[in-house]
Subunit: 78 residues, 2 copies
Amino acid sequence: MSKAIFYHAGCPVCLGAEQMLLNTIDKNKYTLEIVHLGNDSGCIEEAESFGVNSVPALVVDGQVFHINFGAALADLKK
Amino acid sequence: MSKAIFYHAGCPVCLGAEQMLLNTIDKNKYTLEIVHLGNDSGCIEEAESFGVNSVPALVVDGQVFHINFGAALADLKK
């Protein structure tokens, strides 16, 4: 079982990506760990060590995928 | 079974994201359709209608997720 880590900061864009990952990730192959960097700032260094530059981001099999770079103002109005 | 569509244009950033999706998506719930917009430019309008602004992007359950906005020059040197 591999671990996928989703880093976010609680904004609507992050939560949308989180829901998508919860729906789509193959739970027979991956455990999804969700880290809120706003609340768990102790994890920021770990995230940086994986190459995370922004949230939301997914780290899987050692690779970083930044999803939807930041929040568009339009999304924050929803 | 839902359909997830991955739009890309063949660059290394796109291919890395494609491999990640092929590994992680729950194939019991989603079929993954992969569209190369460079080769299948007829699909660009469809992609736009989903809200795709850049590639690589994943459309799943009607939502668009842009993954790694564009290619960093550093990635193109790999």
